[in-house]
Amino acid sequence: MESHQILVVDDDPITARFIASLLQEHGYDVLVAEDGAHALEIVERHELAMVVSDLVMPYRDGYSVLRAIRRNEKYRDLPVLLLSMRDREEDIVKGLEEGADDYVIKPFNARELMARIRKILRTRKVS
């Protein structure tokens, strides 16, 4: 069965709520985690369609969540989109090289974010 669950990871609850409401508006089920460790627990337990994660978080940052996902056989192909205030070239390149499917800079444009999420989900379905 096709999963419609998307996990949103952000230590800022306001951003998390905004993205969640945006995704719900477009018909997805949303799970929210406020830190990296919690996020990985959810990844382990749920059949997800995708992860949208903040980069800078306490305890486990976005890179570390991403690496943990890519290293695990079971959900290696789970799409991950990184969100970050950091707009320097190095950070974006690093995020993509670590295996993120996309990198969006905060503050973000909601419609653009949605379009990117849909595109990622579409390409994943095809492959």
Partner: protein, 406 residues
């Protein structure tokens, strides 16, 4: 006497009681209010966000009429929280909501308040609410008597795209307060290329620190058109200004200025030399490799360090130069070269070559390590001699190390 004491006891205990009651009442009131607001927020937030995602015309329709006074506070907070985290259409819609619900009017009034923190708060919120109507009043707030209000007005204008304010803002760089300088600079940088003209024009009227801030702003915005102007500052009388100009040139990265930066490597003052070296590295100027290698012999640690780092950044040619400098006549140059090679992982790479089949390659690696040992910086080699996974490499390194170091 006793009476005075009794009197004292009575007054202190009443003050004490009053204090306790005040603390408790204050806390109770605050918490009840916060709980009520949190509850309302949970109810209202989805509605407001749903409205922002959708295309309904007025926010009142979504909220089913005007919010009650307690709700207004909650709605305002929700809008302020979200508006600063998004861009694009959602942001515009939320700005529209703030206008429709009359928050912008309240802030505009607040800008006239007698209490400065009200004015500052209103300016800040006007910036977030993004109403073009606020540009004029905010511009006048740039002349407020309180620096805090001026800054927040400036920030708001920056958010509203009021480039006209750049000129007024630049003057604020003259304030000795560095905290506000940083904030003003940040606002000007946020305005981008449009602020550069005003900034450069005001340069001569600014204090020394203000001028340095201008150079930093130019370096952050990186307008190619400012190269010529920066070059003129690179020969300024002040050491700091020369240094910062070099730094800014490095971030703009126009290759035409290489000769000037190379000659700045011979500046009499070390901060300029250090910045020139850094700039050349940032620009990946392969042409400057010989001069950067030369700069490894500088008297100053920062210059040597930046030169070495620049060589590393430049890539293979730079690393080659560093390897050559390991055998330099100058002890400081040797030290810096080896440290940077260690940092770049070059020493480890060379160690693997010690186990190479090819004799020539092995010999070359051996020569390299002999030179490093002769340079007297053996920290990494000692670690490798202990911990390298390949036996032959460890043995080889041990023979190379002087006995007392082992």
């Amino acid at each position: 006497m006793q009476q005075i004491l009794v009197w004292a006891i009575l007054s202190i205990s009443s003050v004490f009681m009053a204090l306790t009651i005040a603390i408790v009442a204050n806390k109770a009131w605050r918490e009840t209010r916060a709980a009520g607001r949190a509850r309302r927020r949970r109810e209202l937030e989805p509605t407001i966000l749903g409205w922002a995602h959708g295309d309904e015309k007025t926010i009142r329709a979504a909220l089913e009429g005007d919010p009650s006074p307690p709700d207004r506070v909650v709605v305002e907070q929700i809008l302020l929280d979200h508006i600063q985290r998004v861009r694009g259409i959602e942001r515009e819609r939320m700005a529209k909501a703030m206008e429709q619900l009359g928050f912008v009017d309240v802030y505009l009034e607040g800008l006239e308040s007698r209490r400065w923190w009200r004015r500052a708060e209103s300016a800040e919120k006007l910036g977030l609410a993004g109403s073009k109507r606020a540009i004029q009043p905010l511009s006048s707030a740039l002349d407020d008597e309180m620096p805090e209000v001026r800054l927040r007005a400036a920030k708001a204008l920056g958010q509203l795209g009021g480039v006209a304010s750049a000129r007024k803002l630049v003057r604020a760089l003259n304030e000795p307060n560095r905290w506000s300088t940083i904030r003003v600079a940040d606002i000007l940088i946020g305005m981008g290329h449009e602020s550069i003209h005003a900034v450069i024009e005001a340069f001569d009227e600014l204090s020394h620190d203000g001028q340095l801030a201008v150079l930093d702003i130019v370096g952050r915005v990186r307008p190619l058109s400012a190269t010529e102007w920066l070059l003129s500052k690179a020969s300024n009388d002040s050491t700091d200004i020369r240094a910062r100009a070099c730094h800014a040139l490095g971030s703009i990265g126009d290759p035409h200025v290489t000769p000037q930066l190379v000659s700045a490597l011979d500046d009499p003052k070390w901060p300029v030399r250090a910045m020139a070296a850094k700039a050349l590295g940032r620009m990946l100027m392969v042409e400057a490799v010989p001069e950067l290698a030369e700069a490894l012999r500088d008297k100053q640690w920062w210059v040597r360090h930046n030169a070495a780092r620049a060589l590393r950044t430049i890539g293979p040619r730079g690393l080659e130069a560093l390897e050559e400098m390991v055998a330099d006549r100058d002890a400081f140059a040797r030290e810096q070269a080896v440290l940077m090679l260690e940092e770049a992982g070059r020493v480890d790479e060379r160690a693997i070559e010690l186990a190479e089949e090819d004799t020539a390659a092995r010999e070359a690696a051996r020569t390299f390590f002999e030179r490093v040992v002769a340079a007297g910086v053996t920290g990494r080699i000692r670690v490798l001699a202990r911990e390298h996974p390949v036996d032959s490499v460890r043995r080889e390194l041990l023979t190379l190390l002087p006995r007392e170091a082992v």
